[in-house]
Each structure stands twice: as structure tokens, then as C-alpha cells.
Symmetry: none
Subunit: 231 residues, 4 copies
DNA sequence: TATGAATGAGTGTTCATTCAT
DNA sequence: TATGAATGAACACTCATTCAT
């Protein structure tokens, strides 16, 4: 462990093998050109970096670990990103976009507003709480002040859109008489708040007191829509 | 490449400013003995460290900067704390305790439960949101996973107590007929959620969309207690 | 452990106790004036420093530890010594002198030379090997090259005198016919060598293979004087 | 106050000199591949470290100086060694092993035992006394107590083997009637002692009184084997 | 005289970044 | 393109020395 064994330079053949089965098999597929391979590597780096940043935060994450986890050499990271900071920023963008896309593809507004909101909340619970995406939210809360561009991006792409969507739903609910509290439309945050709390709770206090997010959200919706007549 | 993260300016002349109220008295009161001076220095270090940790997070904070800000030599820090980690942990404890003490000294339960909750919320808004204490909450959210002892301490001293207090109030509200939703007692988090969101919102999105926390909390309480007859 | 408890200043009484029994009794003697007390402190520092330097070597020894062991404050050391280096140098001198004095007060040359040498060797074994003084020899071997003044002093006060004494004895032995090897007078080191080896052996290899220094010296003397007719 | 310890000069231009024979070849042989270069660097670090440790002892040696002397960056040291301590330990091992190998390749036992021992001693004088290897012995004596693993290794690899070899020779000498003192086989240390003394003498007292080690060893052997009939 | 809190230069170690291969 | 050895600036922590009390 202490002194490195003189690492005999790997012969080129061995190196090709070492790239792993996945990319190896692509040599047969005509679509697997250089660009594709590069994209795959980039994806591997993004995944690994996400994992590490979430686990340790920006400052405490080492590029060495990201490289190891991604299965690439340290230098390779610099072929895809300018430096650690811009990697972090691009990363968050890269990961957030599909989330946004998914969430904004709302189902058509059939049925009651409550059903809609409930479906949305249920989806949120499954997709976010206790998952990597939930950790991403915490990561943004943690690093936001030091990465205004990240906070800005997150606000623009996620928060403001989500707020707009919620507001629309709330107004629909008010119009249909499902929601009494008219001022709620001014603060869609209230609708989201318990979900956010649940996200944070999971990563900080789950081991002290597990939280039934599903049930909590139901109670919260009861507050807003009035208790369901549980016929 | 894009916009760099905000490198919170490290004012070289911060020393004079940083002396703060506590150590300032030293100059006035020549009677201060050695023990007092030591306590003042410790306080100065705690203040400076809080500032730095909040601004940059644990890993990115440099002891050099803390020392400079506190107006002491680097070595002096080690007369008060074992190392960076334990400094961080004790710090959080030190800062949290008085907050807890203050918040738990609740006014006697005269008047309606809503009035009580409102008084409490109003106090919370003034004392926490947009203040150093609010930032502390964000800091704990950010660093909690890497400092389980901090998360534990925070849960034990603040969260569980706060939850117990809220639960008692909710149950009182239910008993008195002020609160309809009986299940709310199981999730005092719902009562707190918007306040937490407000705290986080301030440090991340305030410049994009300022949030009237006071008003938002009122709306939230309306949801729980029913709208006030605004005569 | 982390933050130092404000160490309540030791009451003078406690401090006196800390000096240990020896100096304590002096308080009764009228001779114990300021100068005496200072001398005692100096002696305590010298002892403590010796202990620490032997255990860790010059560079790795901390004045803090010396002060603690001597029961004085760190600053006090600087009332007696200029700095760490000169302390080390004076120290070795201070400790060596009485050893020299003792060893040079040889008993009158009655009886055979072998008896004399044997008496001397036996004394050396008791007084040096496995004792603090033996460690001092190793310390000088260890630090000599970095402290020429120490090596010089040791050579002048101990080595050259010892060599002279040995040479005289050897010449006497040759004159009396007890020693055959005439050239031995040119190398008194040979007479001492096994004793030196024993000293070093004790501190390095004793736990691997204990060495019966007494017996080894006897064998060595047999080589020089011829085997004793063990009648 | 008195004379300062010899601060062995740290030549800033040592770099060029320090490249030494090993790394020098690099410039000549462009064929050297990465593995070779790594080995050369490691060798350069080992050489430089040896030099520094011998000159200053473990604690007082700075990695900065080692790096400078080896002509590498400080960080490079950590590509080869875990930390200062393990560097020291491995270093001693690395340097000792070839010495052992060399010494154990004894010439075939032709001629008298005395001739054998004399050949061995002569070899020892040339290869050890007044050389880097001799200094290494002193270094081990100096640091052994703080590096038990080093002392252990030295005992196992050098001392115990050397003792076994010497004992065999002595027994052969006794069997052939060349050595009278039968008990000598129990203390091969006696055979070695003057050589050890010579090693130490060179580094401490050579400038006060030069020692003709060759001649001293001859006298010592005369004691053991009886005076040679100097025909 | 004696104290020990305070200092700050110095040192071991880490890690983002570069670049020869 | 990809690699990973090499770099060196940066940082946590130590400790000889000073000095107000």
C-alpha cells in the first residue's frame, strides 16, 4: 500500500479490454461512433459527480473520487468540463432538466382539482422523496448561496414554473369551489411546503423519527380542500 | 466559464468591524480580568466562525479567515477548540441553545390558540427569518448529513421540542374547537412547514421574488383555523 | 475536552504540593530562601527535560511537556534557559559533570589491574547500563552531529578523560605483565567497546534478546587478561 | 548563547547535484519509459531522504527539503510514500536490504578463520565506516526507540543474521584451535563491538581524534586469535 | 519571579489542474 | 481522445517564544 508497485505500463490491448463490456460491444453497432462514446463517458461522469456532490457537498468532493466512480481517468473530466465549479453548475442543469420535463407533462385536467393535486403529489413522493432527486433539492439548498447561477437556474426552471402550475391549479380549485381560501393562490408555496419538509426530513431526521410523507400530504390536502367525506 | 460562484468577499479590514459588540466592551471596561477576556475572545471566535461557516459552508471555510475576522491569531482558535470539526459542532450547539431557551419561554396560554400560534409565528419571523439564525437553519440542512452529531443535536434540542410544543397547541386547538382537522396533531410539521420554506426562500430566492412571510403565514393559519371574520 | 475549561488558577497551596515531596520539606529549613527555590526549580526543569529529550530526541520534544513534567509554567523555563537549544546543551553538561566526577574518583590502585578494571566495569554496569545515564549516551550519539558543542563537550569531559584513564590502566597492566597485547594501549576504545555496545543494545534490542552485560564483560576481560584460573 | 547546533546548510542549488547518477541516465537514455522514470524518481527521493534524515534526524527533517534535494515537487513524494513516518521506515528497509545481501555473500571458507574474519572486517571497514551506510547505523541507533518497527527490522535482518554468522565463525575458530576463549561464542557482539565503536567514533569525534579503524581492528583480532607471528 | 494566554511562522498533507505520452 | 504522473498552491494544525498580569 505504501509504496506503489512499479506499475508495468498496460499494453494497448489490455487497455481496450479494460474499458468494460458495455462500450466494447458497441464496436459492432455502426451507431456507436466516437461521438456516442464521448456522450456515454460524459454521462458516466455526470452520474458519478452527482453521487459524490450529494454525498459530500461541493467543496468536500474530490475529482479523484468522481473519476474513480465514473471509471475514467482524472484528466478525462477536463475534456468534458472546464473545472470543478463549472462542472457542478452544468451538472445541476443537466440533471434538473429532465425532472422539469417530466413534471410539467401534467395529465389532462379531468376529474376534481383535488384528484389532480393528489396525483401530482403522489408522483412527487415516488419520484423525489428519498431518491437521488430529493437529495438534489437539498444540495441546491446547501450550495445555492455559493452558486447563484445554480440558484437562479433552479428558480427559473423549476421553482417559477412549479409555482405557476400550482397557482393555476389553485385558481381552478377556487373557481370550482373546491378551495375556500382565496388567498392561497398568492402563496402556492404553502401547497408545496410539506413536500419540501418531507424531503429535508428524510435526509436529516429519518433515523430519529420516520415520517409517513404520503399520510402527511393527505392531511395537508384535507386542510386545503376540506376533509374528504370518506364514504 | 459561466458565472462563477459568489466568492463572498473576504474583507481584509474586517478585523475592526469583527470585534463586534462583545469584545468592544473590553476597551471600555478596564476591570475585565483574564477569564472575562478569554470568554470574550471565545465569543468573538464563535461569531466569526458562524459568519464564515454560513457564508461558505464547512469545507470551504478557512480557519485563517475565521481568525482574521475574530481579530485573533490562528493559534488562539486552538486554545478554545480541538479542531475544525469540533469547532463546528460546538458552534452550532452554542448558538442553538439560547434560541431554544427563548422560544420555549412561551407566554401563558391566555386567549385563543390561534392568537398563541400567531404570536409565536410572529416572534419566529422576527427572530429567525432573514437573520443569522435563519441562515443557521439552512447551514444545518446543508451540513447535517455530514455531521450526524449536529443533526442529532438539532433534532433533540430543537425539532423534537418544537414538535412537542406544536402538538400540544394543536391538541388544545382541537379540544377548544378552533381546529377541525383532527389528524393535524399527528403532523405538527405541517404547522411549521411554511415557516421553514420562508427561511430557505429568503436565502435562495429573495432577490428573484421577495416573499411576504408574514402574510403567507396568515394565510396558512387561515387554512388551519378557518378564515378570521375580518370585521 | 474540546474547549478548554477555564482553568481556575491553581491556588498557591496546590502549587506547592505539585512540587513533590522533596522540595516540600525544604520549606521548614531556614536555608530555603529565594535562591534555593530557584535552584530547585531549575533542577526540576533539568530532570524533566532530560527525561523528555531522552524519550523523544531534541526536535520532537515539546517545551510544554517539559514544563508539565517539571511542574512549572512554560514561561518559567525561559527564566532559566535562553531557548530550547541552549537548554539542551547546558542540560547535557549539567548531567554529565557529576558522572565524570564520580567515575574519575577511582579507588587507589591496590591489587591487580584486572581487579581494578573489573571493579570499574562493574560500577559502570550498575551506574550506566539500563539507566538514565545510559540513555544519555545514546542521546549524545543521536544528537551529536547536530550539536557539535555537545559532542565536543562530551569528548573533552568524558571521552578523552576516560581514554586517558584506560590507557594508564592498560599500560600498568602491560608493565605488570597482566596484559600481553602491547598495542592495546593505543586503542583503549577496545576496552570500552563491549560496554558501549551493551548500552545501545539495551535500548534497542533488549526485548528481542536480553543481554547479560555482566557476563559479556567478564568474557571480554578474559580475552584481554587471559582466562582467570578459576580455582 | 553558546554555539548553535550545526544547521547543516540547505543548498538551494542542490537540485542539479541531487539528480545523482540514477536520474542522470534519464537525460542520456531517451528510451526510458514511464515505469523507469517512476523508479528513478523514487530512487532520487530515497537518496535525498536518506541524506536529510541522516543529517538532521527524523523529526527535524522537512519534506520540503527532501523534495528540493530530489528535484521533485513536494506532492510527488506522496505518490511513493504514505507519509513521513512510513517513508522513513521503508527507507531504512530499502537501504538496508542490499547491504545485508552483500555481507551475507561470504567468500568460501578457505584458509584460516582469522583470514576469513579479517577479510570480512576489511570489507566492513571499506563499505560501512565513514560512508552513508555507517551513518545509517547511527541513524538507527538514534531513532530506533521511537521507531520500534525499524529497530525490529534491523534486528531481524541485520543483527540476528550477523550474530549467527559471527557465532558460526567463532565456533569454527574454537574447533580449529584458533580461538582459545570458548565463551566468546556466546557473545559475538564482542567481535563486532570495536567496529561499531569505529562507526560511531567517525561521526562524532573524528575531528578531535582521527581513528585508524583498520589498525584498531587488527589489534582486536590479535586479542582474540592471539598475536600473529609477524614473520 | 512566575504564569499561561496569545502569537504566527513553520510543517505535513491534500487536491484541482496540467501535460507528456 | 484518454491517461495518470507530476505539480505546487492552499490549508489544518503545532509549538517555540513573548509578554501583560
Amino acid at each position: 500500500m505504501t509504496d506503489k508497485p512499479t506499475k508495468v505500463a498496460r499494453p494497448p490491448a489490455a487497455r481496450a479490454l479494460a474499458k468494460g463490456a458495455a462500450s466494447q460491444t458497441r464496436d459492432e453497432a455502426p451507431a456507436s461512433n466516437r461521438a456516442t462514446r464521448a456522450a456515454e463517458r460524459r454521462a458516466a461522469i455526470v452520474d458519478a459527480a452527482m453521487e459524490e456532490f450529494i454525498a459530500r457537498g461541493f467543496a468536500a468532493t474530490r475529482l479523484d473520487d468522481i473519476a474513480k466512480r465514473a471509471g475514467v481517468a482524472k484528466g478525462t473530466i477536463y475534456l468534458h468540463f472546464n473545472d470543478k465549479e463549472s462542472m457542478f453548475e452544468e451538472l445541476v442543469r443537466t440533471v434538473i432538466v429532465p425532472v422539469v420535463t417530466r413534471l410539467t407533462t401534467l395529465p389532462p385536467p379531468t376529474g376534481s382539482v383535488r384528484d389532480l393535486v393528489e396525483a401530482f403529489a403522489s408522483n412527487f413522493l415516488k419520484e423525489v422523496i428519498g431518491t437521488r432527486r430529493g437529495d438534489l433539492v437539498r444540495l441546491i439548498v446547501a450550495e445555492g448561496p455559493r452558486f447563484p447561477s445554480v440558484a437562479d437556474f433552479y428558480y427559473r426552471e423549476v421553482v417559477s414554473r412549479g409555482m405557476a402550475g400550482m397557482r393555476a391549479l389553485i385558481e381552478l380549485g377556487i373557481a370550482r369551489g373546491e378551495i375556500r381560501e382565496k388567498d392561497l393562490a398568492r402563496y402556492p408555496q404553502i401547497l408545496i411546503a410539506p413536500a419540501m419538509i418531507a424531503v429535508i426530513w428524510q435526509s436529516l431526521f429519518a433515523r430519529h423519527a420516520p415520517l409517513d410523507a404520503q399520510d402527511m400530504l393527505r392531511v395537508h390536502l384535507d386542510l386545503i380542500f376540506g376533509e374528504r367525506s370518506t364514504t
